[in-house]
């Protein structure tokens, strides 16, 4: 409860204010949602502190923080799409191969003379189409999200191989590689882009009527339907967003590795699911945040980076990352 303001400022009252604030904190920590929202931030700070203490001169340098931000940006964009899918109680297992498909479309457009950004639009639209198909089939045929996107995982990967003939295409463009190397006031462009997308997604989910419909669909689809929410439309839009972001992320990937590769990178998919759960989004839908998964992505990348900088042997890295995912998820878990 709010404190009633009093005119006098005696020391006794100051003490009262203090205990009340403490009390508020105590109450807040008893709220399970407080933990699911903030644990990932605490974990992230802990990871930075631990590695910072171990290797202050290599982990906590501007150069290395820049590395973590660059490494986080593409997964952070992917995770936004995954968050939307999970918020409707769905899951998008096809994002990594949609990204591969988008990359291949990018490569074909670019090598046929499109400029780097026109090719980017082509790749993004390719992603949108895949996502739209996902949503359409899920909504109209009433098949589980899991099965449809699992199918798309294979179909998109297959089409990527078919249209590329399995051959990677080199993309040599200074403008594009500058996107990966350059920055804006010390923040890498890639992270600026990821952050803008994250903020826009937050606004969309929590400040628009459609965003409320998304959460309502995930919370209780029958209730949402009877309230007049167009659930089919919600599913189609959500998966289209996820596909679009995957297609767009394909361009950013090419900016980093300089080639359109027809092989799918499944680590991105696994990381996105881990980040969504760590970020406090309920896998049963209806409840979630956009910033939680964003911070979780930073956490996972900072962890991988820190373990590499400290020189932990590769085998132990798998173990430690898995442990952190499980332990944090155990903390985040609410009834």
């Amino acid at each position: 409860m709010k404190l009633s303001p009093k005119s006098s400022t005696s020391s006794a009252q100051a003490g009262e204010v203090e205990t009340s604030t403490l009390n508020k904190v105590r109450l807040a920590t008893k709220d399970p949602f407080f933990w699911s929202n903030w644990i990932v931030v605490i974990a992230f700070i802990l990871v930075v502190l631990v590695f910072g203490a171990l290797k202050p001169h290599s982990f906590l340098t501007m150069y290395n923080l820049n590395n973590i931000l660059v490494a986080s940006s593409i997964p952070a964009i992917i995770v936004v799409g995954q968050t939307f899918a999970v918020a409707t109680a769905g899951i998008d297992l096809s994002i990594s191969s949609i990204m591969t498909f988008g990359a291949v479309v990018y490569g074909i457009a670019f090598t046929n003379g499109s400029s780097w950004w026109v090719a980017g639009i082509a790749g993004t639209i390719a992603g949108t189409l895949c996502g739209f198909l996902n949503g359409l089939i899920i909504a109209k045929r009433k098949i589980s999200d899991f099965i449809v996107t699992l199918g798309m995982l294979s179909v998109a990967a297959g089409f990527a191989l078919v249209i590329s003939n399995g051959v990677p295409r080199q993309i040599v463009s200074n403008s594009l590689s500058n996107l990966a190397i350059g920055g804006f006031g010390g923040i890498p462009y890639l992270m600026v882009i990821a952050f803008v997308i994250t903020v826009a997604a937050h606004f969309f989910l929590f400040n628009t009527r459609f965003g409320t419909h998304i959460l309502a669909t995930g919370g209780d689809p029958d209730a949402a339907r009877s309230m007049g929410v167009n659930i089919d439309l919600v599913k189609i839009v959500v998966y289209s967003i996820s596909g679009t972001l995957a297609g767009f992320a394909a361009m950013l990937t090419i900016s980093r590795i300089g080639a359109a590769e027809p092989a799918a990178n499944t680590s991105l998919l696994l990381n996105s699911v881990a980040a969504v759960v760590l970020g406090g989004v309920s896998l049963f839908g209806g409840r979630g945040t956009i910033f939680g998964p964003f911070v979780a992505t930073l956490l996972l990348q900072a962890l991988t980076n820190g373990l590499t900088v400290v020189g932990v042997a590769a085998y132990y890295q798998y173990v430690s990352i898995g442990l952190v995912v499980i332990l944090s998820a155990a903390l985040v878990r609410t009834k």
Binding site: W35, I39, I42, A43, L46, V47, V50, L54, K55, H57, S58, T61, N64, N67, A71, S164, N165, G166, V167, P168, Q170, V172, N174, S177, A180, I181, T253, R256, I257, G258, A259, E261, P262, A263, A264, N265, T266, S267, L268, L303, T304, N305, L307, T308, V309, V310, G311, V312, A313, A314, Y315, Y316, Q317, V319, S320, L323, V324, L327, A330, L331
Partner: protein, 340 residues
């Protein structure tokens, strides 16, 4: 209660993370000429393939023998080209004397290597070459390359197989991932070495044992007169051997790499031969090249690492030695340049 549990779990996770951190090494800013002060950073491909485990072993053993420090990092997962690039980025800003890399694709590490070169550090590229065009665009420079000639290795396999089955026969070809440079080179080399034969395929089995088994089954059904198989790596050759045995046939099966598993199968007779490459030697040469450079020496820009056909005639010797190095010895241009 619940709250306490949470704090306990936080505590556990922090301790777990800290416990996994191995003893760090003290960086030295002086251009370390002393062996004990030389630090090498290594980024290789996924350790889910025994081939790269062998590269890693060569690096670790050689580093230990010479008394230098090597931080060996691997790509976090299969095809995780960005994850591998992140690892190199994380190491590129640190005070290492030299970097050894095996890129997943010919381009994915180029930007990170550009940073390494800009920091004035030498790069040794082993096994799979970095694409020169993308490297140049990123401002990177490879000081020395040590790897196999996959075309020559494939050709040696083709020549050896022709001796066994004679010319004019049908040979089934099993390739790795579609479009993969290494696979293409091995297959093309084999076709040149076994010229005069009729080839079925190549069918892509993605370096995978099970996929190779299925592919070989299908090929045998369609072409019962196949007289031999060539697979572009040992793991696929194992799958092919299973298919051949299941079909009740006794025809030669060749693989490439010289993995210990396969040598055991060669001894047992289910696989006929493997064109052995020596990943252990590549790792060893990488470390030696780095040490020479850190000591201020010069290294050759291009070294072809050894290869050789292992079959029933020499499999015992190879098994006995662990097949880390060729039975007949090999030329190592780096080792004599090291100042002890």
């Amino acid at each position: 209660m619940k709250k306490n549990n949470r704090f306990l779990t936080i505590g556990i996770s922090v301790v777990a993370a800290a416990a996994l951190v191995l003893a760090g090494t003290t960086p030295s800013n002086a251009a370390g000429k002393k062996l004990s002060s030389i630090r090498i950073a290594v980024v290789i491909k996924g350790l889910d393939n025994p081939y790269f485990v062998s590269v890693k072993q060569g690096i670790i053993d050689t580093a230990k023998k010479l008394g230098v420090v090597a931080n060996v990092q691997a790509a976090p997962g299969l095809n995780d080209d960005i994850g591998q690039a992140n690892k190199l980025d994380a190491l590129a800003g640190q005070n290492y004397d030299c970097y050894i890399v095996i890129p997943i694709t010919s381009n994915n590490l180029s930007q990170g290597l550009g940073k390494v070169t800009k920091a004035g550090k030498p790069i040794i590229n082993i096994d799979s070459p970095v694409d020169p065009a993308s490297l140049k665009a990123a401002g990177g420079k490879i000081t020395s390359f040590a790897g196999t000639d996959n075309t020559a290795a494939g050709k040696a396999g083709g020549v050896s197989m022709l001796k066994l089955i004679g010319s004019g026969k049908k040979i089934g070809l099993i390739a790795g991932l579609a479009g993969n440079v290494t696979s293409n080179a091995r297959i093309a080399g084999f076709e040149a070495g076994a010229a005069g034969s009729t080839f079925v395929g190549p069918v892509n089995a993605d370096w995978d044992t099970t996929k190779a088994l299925d592919a070989a089954n299908a090929m045998l059904v369609a072409n019962p007169d196949i007289a031999a198989f060539f697979a572009a790596n040992d793991q696929m050759a194992q799958g092919v051997a299973k298919a051949v045995a299941a079909a009740g046939k006794k025809i030669p099966v060749y693989g490439v790499d010289g993995l210990m598993d396969n040598l055991n199968l060669i001894k047992a007779g289910s696989v006929t031969a493997s064109i052995s490459q020596y990943p252990y030697v590549m790792g060893k040469m990488g470390v030696e090249a780095c040490v020479v450079l850190a000591q201020g020496g010069k290294v050759p820009a291009w070294t072809i690492t050894p290869y050789g056909v292992i079959d029933s005639s020499n499999v015992d010797a190879a098994l006995k030695s662990g097949n880390q190095t060729p039975p007949g010895g090999y030329k190592d241009p780096y080792a004599p340049l090291i100042k002890k």
